[in-house]
């Protein structure tokens, strides 16, 4: 056995939303995502903890589970692991049962079930600070005596908040030297696998555990029924049948207005910086291939995508605050009925909302949906939620073609159009879900069973970490995949070099120009010229690339050097309004994102659904763009 495998294995197990991942981050120094709703973690995550004695402990963060009888794919992961059903993974040496100190009644039942499995269990009494503030005097030592298990207090969201747990693990379970075997705790008391499975499946024990929990809470003086909490008072407004939907609508609307309005000064600054760089490079280097690569490929391509960083930061700031506050499950509550009318449940809301960032985590988050059919439909429609990669495309086109004027007090037309595009995506998703319901039939019973967690004031630290991560991801994307694609596209657009005396721009003679002309046969009926057609191709790998690709293609098509690096004025001259609107409509349904298709393949275990996804989205996008193009030409005239 290798040294790494001999290191003790600690698993964090508990009900959803009790702070397992926050503790995991504290123990291992990781920065996994945390938020205030059930089902943030849907995969197992492994990290390492170095003890002061120099040993190592493997720490596993597992998805939350309400019991050891799994109902959803994410719970299955946790149960399989705890029960030792995975062939190539040993059962954990120690189970850290994480409990929410403000809600012992539910969380302790799982602790009792874990205890019966016979493995060493240590209880991490999390959120003790919140519990104390709410007047719940929890005596950890007394709780430990009643449970017959060691109990340590933790505060997952505070630096050093896992100190007591860390010390306990070091003292009791760490190997004395790196590589040597840990105390043989797991060998002696753990029940066999078959026994474990039957213990986990025993339904009668739930009621018995409930009585035991009542007894313990009674002994500790914690058996009172909580009075009206601040959360309840907020919920009376937020969940109000009339005020609730209104608040939700206004929040979403303001979000898109702000994304557009607040980002403008920052975007202009970045644009100016890139233009200055392009001018500098243009002046410093002689006209030629190297100058063209840097100006047309790197700056006009990757640079024009980087401009959208402020908007993406703003969008994520809003999403992170909503996630951290506990509002998201409320939004799901308000929309449940609407989702029910197309055969889904509110459980699909959070995966769909995550898809506004990117469809890939959205598709993963669908693991929290208990119903298999609902899960597939959610995965199929997730890419219709406008992901942040499409934001640059929308912004470029809206900023260029929609006049910046107000249509009401504080309501900008550009922000309104952006909101409408997002709404069109959501509307399309509902229509597809409805159609699938009609075609395949829906199950009669759709359980919701969604936890509405206590509201928290969003943590600035958490927001900061989340934003820094998003900026890193975006800049890395621009610096790697987008830059590489742009250089490749520049290459294809520059070679073969047109012979001297070639009439028209040299790019028409290049590989990309010829490929574009071929594709234009397909796309001309919906108003796309060959430059757009060619830009759509690298957009399959990363959608933001479309913006950069247009930058490169038009920059190379332009005759003068003065316009380099500025996409907007180029397309403003080259396109009719109808073409711009058609491209916007295309991107509402924008199909063909390779990473999304791969994620759908992995999560559904078949190519059937990704193929269906790509096909229906292509059809929808083509139809929507064509309809928009011809209707707007008829309306506006073929200008």
């Amino acid at each position: 056995m290798s040294a790494a495998l001999a290191d003790p294995l600690v698993a964090l197990v508990g009900n959803p939303n009790c702070g397992k991942t926050a503790l995991f981050n504290l123990l291992t120094g990781s920065r996994q995502k945390i938020a205030n709703y059930a089902g943030v973690t849907v995969e197992r995550k492994e990290g390492r903890l170095r003890t002061r004695a120099g040993g190592q402990i493997r720490v596993l963060d597992l998805p939350g589970a309400y019991s050891l009888r799994p109902r959803t794919p994410d719970e299955q992961i946790t149960c399989d692991f705890v029960l030792g059903r995975l062939p190539d993974e040993p059962r954990p040496d120690v189970v850290v049962a994480v409990v929410d100190g403000t809600n012992l009644r539910r969380h302790l039942r799982l602790v009792l079930a874990l205890k019966r499995l016979g493995q060493p269990v240590v209880v991490a009494l999390n959120m003790v600070d919140l519990a104390r503030r709410r007047g719940l005097p929890i005596d950890a030592a007394a709780l430990g005596r009643e449970l017959g298990l060691p109990v340590v207090e933790t505060i997952g969201i505070r630096a050093g908040g896992a100190q007591a747990l860390l010390e306990h693990l070091e003292r009791e379970h760490a190997a004395p030297e790196p590589g040597s075997a840990s105390r043989p705790l797991s060998a002696s008391r753990a029940v066999s696998l078959d026994e474990a499975a039957s213990i986990a499946a025993d339904m009668a024990s739930v009621a018995a555990d409930q009585q035991e929990v009542e007894r313990i809470l009674g002994r500790l003086g914690l058996d009172g029924v909580p009075a009206d909490t601040p959360s309840d008072r907020i919920d009376r407004v937020v969940l109000h049948p009339l005020a609730g939907p209104l608040i939700l609508g206004v929040t979403m609307f303001l979000m898109f207005q702000a994304v557009f309005a607040w980002a403008q000064p920052f975007m202009q600054a970045i644009t100016a910086l890139i233009a200055a760089l392009a001018a500098l490079v243009g002046a410093a280097l002689p006209a030629g291939l190297l100058q063209s690569l840097l100006v047309d490929g790197v700056l006009a391509g990757a640079g024009s995508v980087l401009v959208f960083l402020p908007q993406i930061v703003l969008l994520f700031a809003f999403i992170l605050v909503l996630e951290d506050s506990g509002y998201l499950p409320r939004a799901a509550f308000l929309l449940d009925r609407l989702m029910g009318s197309v055969g889904l449940s509110g459980r699909s809301f959070i995966p769909l909302l995550s898809s506004f960032a990117c469809a890939v985590p959205g598709i993963l988050a669908a693991r929290t949906i208990p119903n298999a059919r609902d899960r597939i439909v959610t995965i199929l429609i997730a890419p219709l939620m406008t992901c942040s990669a499409r934001l640059p495309v929308y912004t470029l086109l809206i900023g260029t073609f929609v006049p910046a004027r107000t249509v009401g007090p504080g309501v900008g037309l550009q922000g309104l159009v952006l909101f409408a595009l997002y709404a069109a995506g959501v509307g399309g998703a509902f229509a597809v879900a409805w159609l699938l319901k009609r075609l395949r039939g829906a199950n009669a019973l759709h359980p919701l069973q969604m936890e509405l967690p206590t509201y928290h004031v969003p943590s600035l630290r958490n927001l900061g970490i989340g934003l820094v991560q998003r900026v890193e991801v975006f800049v890395r994307r621009v610096g790697t995949i987008i830059l590489a694609l742009m250089v490749l596209l520049w290459f294809l657009s520059s070679f073969p070099v047109a012979p001297a005396g070639y009439p028209g721009p040299a790019i028409e003679y290049s590989l990309a120009g010829r490929l574009g002309s071929l594709l234009a046969v397909v796309f001309a009926p919906i108003g796309f010229n060959w430059q757009i057609s060619i830009a759509l191709v690298p957009g399959m790998a990363a959608r933001e690339v479309v913006v950069g690709a247009l930058g490169t293609v038009y920059s190379l098509s332009a005759t003068g050097r003065d316009v380099a690096g500025q996409v907007a004025p180029l397309i403003a001259r080259a396109w009719s309004l109808s073409t711009a609107l058609a491209l916007l409509a295309w991107y509402v349904f924008a199909p063909q994102c390779l990473s999304t298709l791969v994620a759908a393949r992995r999560e559904t275990n078949s190519w059937r659904y990704p193929a269906l996804m790509a096909a229906y989205q292509f059809a929808l996008a083509y139809a929507a763009a064509g309809l928009t193009y011809h209707l707007s030409r008829w309306w506006l005239g073929p200008a």
Binding site: P226, S231, L239, P241, R337, S345, L445
Partner: protein
């Protein structure tokens, strides 16, 4: 009770809808569904079909202790 309804009832028990627990209806969405239900110190959103799996008796608001 069908298999799905039985499954639903089991799940409800696991999240805390157990004999003797106090439940309180906190909110009801437009058109009567879903419901926000307090059980123990938790709030769960349930659809009507789920809530129908829970048998309740009315207790007076000021009456302390459990049924």
């Amino acid at each position: 009770m069908g298999r799905e309804a039985a499954d639903m009832a089991e799940r409800l028990a696991e999240i805390g809808f157990l004999p003797g627990e106090r439940v309180r209806l906190l909110a009801r969405a437009l058109f009567g569904e879903p419901l926000a239900v307090r059980v123990g110190s938790d709030t769960f959103a349930l659809r009507r079909a789920e809530a129908a799996c829970v048998r309740v008796v009315r207790v007076e608001p000021d009456e302390d202790g459990r049924r």
